[in-house]
């Protein structure tokens, strides 16, 4: 096995970040292929059990990205997501989950380049942290 290639799951909203990532494509900006995007109407839709599930499925890192404050297509969804995350984070920490592996961002439909940079920086950081063995051990579910 050559260099460790982390598996990163991105939960993005349809209106800002998904479109932003589309722009990254149309402007042909290259970034790390490690990320898999799950499209949701709004970050407000994100049930944080999804994050646990993602780790469960062997994700080494997670990205949650939506509209900038005030730009939410649904006026306030992204704030709800943020508020809920603040609570959820402590829960994760309590469970002993490494919250450095969960990254939040605001990427608008106009920020194609920002998306690429963000994905790259997250990928690099997760590479530094290495595979999320501890979790896999913790849940005792050896994934491949």
């Amino acid at each position: 096995m050559s260099e460790f290639e982390p598996k990163i799951v991105a939960f993005v909203c349809n209106w800002c970040t998904y479109a932003g990532a589309d722009l990254t494509g149309t402007s042909r900006i290259k970034y790390a292929p490690n990320v898999r995007m799950i499209r949701l109407p709004c970050t407000g839709r994100i049930d944080f059990m999804l994050l646990l599930k993602a780790f469960d499925q062997g994700a080494d890192g997670i990205i949650v990205s939506g509209c900038h404050p005030g730009d939410c297509h649904y006026t306030a969804g992204n704030f709800h997501a943020r508020r809920r995350w603040i609570i959820f984070r402590s829960a994760l920490e309590f469970l002993g989950i490494d919250t450095r592996r969960v990254h939040f961002a605001w990427v608008s439909a106009a920020e194609g380049a920002k998306w690429a940079e963000f994905v790259n920086s997250v990928t690099d950081e997760i590479k530094k942290l290495g595979p999320y063995e501890t979790y896999k051990k913790a849940v005792g579910a050896g994934i491949e």
């Binding site: 799951v9 990532a21 589309d22 290259k30 292929p33 649904y74 306030a76």
Partner: protein, 664 residues
């Protein structure tokens, strides 16, 4: 057992350049539930689409995944194709292997590997898709127009002429708004009332328009196409059906010294009054705050003289309930008074007046019958000073924004003054002249070149009285900031245009957002200028931002067009991507426990409380119900629901978790 078809697009070299479509198809074919997988050069081309349609028919597909460009690009195309082949369009999903894969990664196995996973994610999702059907919402083809100034009048007439019913609500005793107060209008100098009053009469006569004057919006419920509104019809104190508008009551009323709102305080009116001669309707109201009868319990002079016996002292406010399909907010603006300028005398000098007051002075029907006389002693001012930006563009004491109309009306005022007082001297202190608009710049130049109005570029620091003159201390920045002192007989402040005092309250009633200055916000500053963020509610005129008459009228017609479009069919259909609260057979009825956390979180007030009762009508439990008309499908409630009683069609928990699991 699901039968999924996977269609991989090369998009010429766009995808095939870095991803290996054949390999993707090959691997996809092996995915559980996939019965057919094929790659093709251009899936969006007719042959490509036929490939899908045929497969749906021949392979009896229960779901389709098209791995190609972004769904934001071609989802409609492929869903339509599926529909044509008899497959519910919502059983067709796209895997974005172009924008999110082939275009952003190098040509490596990893890239193809990613494409495959993107396909797998969608396969897992589409397996769990359910057929969905567009939501149909009935539309009540009646519009409510709030405010009967020029914008409200225009909107009402346009909607009515399109053949729809309109309820036009005006808080004042007469329609007409600020425009009715104006003397002449820039840049054509045609008399405001001459062009407005015919429209007012037309409104009154129009078979499709019901007029509610001296009335205000009480409450709004419901959603696009189906609003339920309450209107408070304030007690006029007269029986409108009997009153002929003869005006004897006003003539006989013993209390005549009440400052008239319509005359901007420069004229007087009795306690029972019609705001102005051309008022529509031409029926008086009793001003209960000033009527002797209400103050002292006796008088009733008007009652004695009214031949029709139309006076009703005991009349109460009336609440009128209406069903409307759309609402146009056209409640207009207010202006700052002269009293908030410390350096201009806190409004204590009677001869320092506002632009609106000048309009009344200049108006042929005004308190001076169009003669320019100063309020203090009725003398004709020999020297008059106009101060632009009085409160506008003044973050310290006024408002930071530009009121937009002042440059033009100030030029007009100066011009009118010169036309009426030929030997008089008119000075205008200004910072910039903003005369963008058809024939606007020309108009300002005319004031300067032909009518000899003197423009001085500089702000006025202070106004004080000395020897019966108003000393205006300004400066001319074009003379290098040299102090300029002008001894004037009258000063006109172009005071700032601001939102109505209760604009915020209105916005909250309508559930539309508003800016820091309490102007109502449009849905998009460029592309949706008359819609609000609440479907079915539109804005027209200065309620949204400072505007002059042409702009207000244009926006009003635009809003009317939007309403007409909304009313063009008796039903409107919406994407079925909305939240639903599950329903179960008794005894559960629903897993919803009725905590209503979702109620507060919902940005659209789409969550309702449904009471489940037994046959005898005893309450069993109260559960959440989502109003399909209001829900926009953000899913915030879904994530919030502790008992997973709510789910989002098209993005169900089952679907999303399946997507995540497919990564394993």
């Amino acid at each position: 057992m699901s039968r999924i078809g996977v269609f991989i697009c090369h998009c010429g070299e766009n995808i095939a350049g870095t991803v290996d479509p054949a390999k993707v198809a090959e691997t996809a074919a092996k995915m559980p539930g996939v019965v057919y997988a094929v790659d093709y050069k251009y899936m969006c081309s007719d042959p490509g689409q036929n490939l899908i349609k045929d497969a749906i028919k021949e392979k009896k597909l229960t779901g389709v995944v098209v791995a190609a460009c972004s769904p934001r690009m071609h989802e409609p195309t492929f869903r339509a194709a599926s529909a044509e082949a008899g497959l519910n369009p919502f059983l067709c999903e796209m895997a974005n292997i172009r924008e999110h894969c082939s275009w952003v990664h190098e040509k490596t196995d990893a890239t193809t590997e990613k494409a495959i996973e993107l396909v797998r994610i969608m396969v897992e999702k589409v397996k769990r898709n359910r057929p969905l059907y567009p939501i149909k919402v009935p539309v009540t083809k009646t519009a409510l127009v709030l405010g009967a100034g020029v914008a409200g009048i225009q909107a009402a007439l346009d909607i009515a002429n399109a053949g729809h019913k309109v309820a036009l609500v005006e808080r004042e005793p007469s329609i007409g708004g600020h425009m009715a107060q104006l003397s002449e209008t820039f840049p054509t100098l045609d008399c405001s009332q001459c062009i407005l009053t015919p429209r007012m009469v037309e409104v009154a006569r129009h078979p499709n328009i019901t007029l509610y004057t001296y009335s205000e919006l009480e409450s709004v419920e419901g959603f696009i196409g189906n609003f339920k509104v309450k209107i408070r019809k304030k007690a006029r104190g007269i029986d409108e059906t009997l009153c002929t508008g003869c005006g004897i009551c006003s003539q006989k009323c013993p209390r005549k010294k009440i400052p008239s709102e319509f005359e901007a305080g420069l004229g007087l009116r009795p306690a029972i009054y019609v705001p102005f001669p051309q008022a529509v309707p031409n029926k008086p109201v009793i001003d209960r705050k000033n009527c002797t009868y209400y103050l002292k319990g006796k008088c009733r002079v008007c009652e004695k003289f009214c031949e029709k016996k139309a006076i009703r002292f005991d009349q109460k406010d009336e609440i009128i309930e209406l069903d409307v399909g759309a609402i146009v907010a056209a409640t207009g603006y207010d202006i700052k008074g002269t009293d908030f300028f410390p350096e201009y005398g806190y409004g204590k000098y009677p001869d320092v007046i506002t632009g609106l007051q000048f309009e009344r002075l200049a108006s042929a029907s005004g308190p001076t019958l169009g003669a320019i006389k100063r309020p203090s002693d009725g003398k004709e001012p020999e020297t008059i000073v106009f101060i632009a930006c009085a409160g506008s563009r003044d973050p310290a004491k006024g408002i930071p924004y530009c009121s937009k109309i002042c440059c033009m009306y100030t030029a007009k005022h100066a011009m009118l003054y010169k036309h009426k007082v030929h030997r008089g001297k008119a000075y205008v202190f200004y910072m910039d002249i903003r005369a963008g608009g058809k024939m606007y710049e020309e108009f300002v130049r005319r004031a300067i070149e032909e009518d000899g109005v003197v423009y001085i570029r500089g702000r006025v620091s202070r106004i004080y009285e000395e020897d019966g003159k108003l000393v205006v201390k300004g400066a001319d920045t074009l003379l290098g900031g040299e102090p300029i002192e002008i001894k004037a007989d009258m000063v006109v402040l172009a005071t700032a245009m601001v939102a109505n005092k209760d604009a915020e309250e209105l916005a909250q009633k309508l559930r539309v957002s508003y800016d820091p200055y309490h102007f109502l916000s449009e849905a998009h500053p460029k592309l949706r200028p008359v819609e609000t963020n609440t479907a079915g509610i539109f804005v027209a005129g200065a309620v949204q931002a400072p505007k002059d008459i042409p702009e207000a009228v244009a926006q009003a017609s635009a809003a009317a067009a939007k309403v007409a479009a909304l009313f063009s069919s008796s039903e409107l259909s919406r994407e079925p991507v909305i939240a639903v609260v599950n329903r179960l057979p008794p005894p559960e009825y629903s897993t919803c426990t009725g905590c209503f956390l979702c109620e507060k979180a919902c940005p659209y007030q789409a969550i309702e409380r449904e009471e489940i009762r037994d046959k005898k009508g005893n309450l069993i439990k109260t559960v959440a119900r989502i109003n399909p008309g209001l829900c926009q499908g953000c899913g915030t409630c879904v994530a919030l629901c502790r008992v997973k009683a709510i789910d989002l069609e098209g993005f169900t928990n089952e679907q999303v978790f399946a997507e995540v699991c497919s990564l394993g």
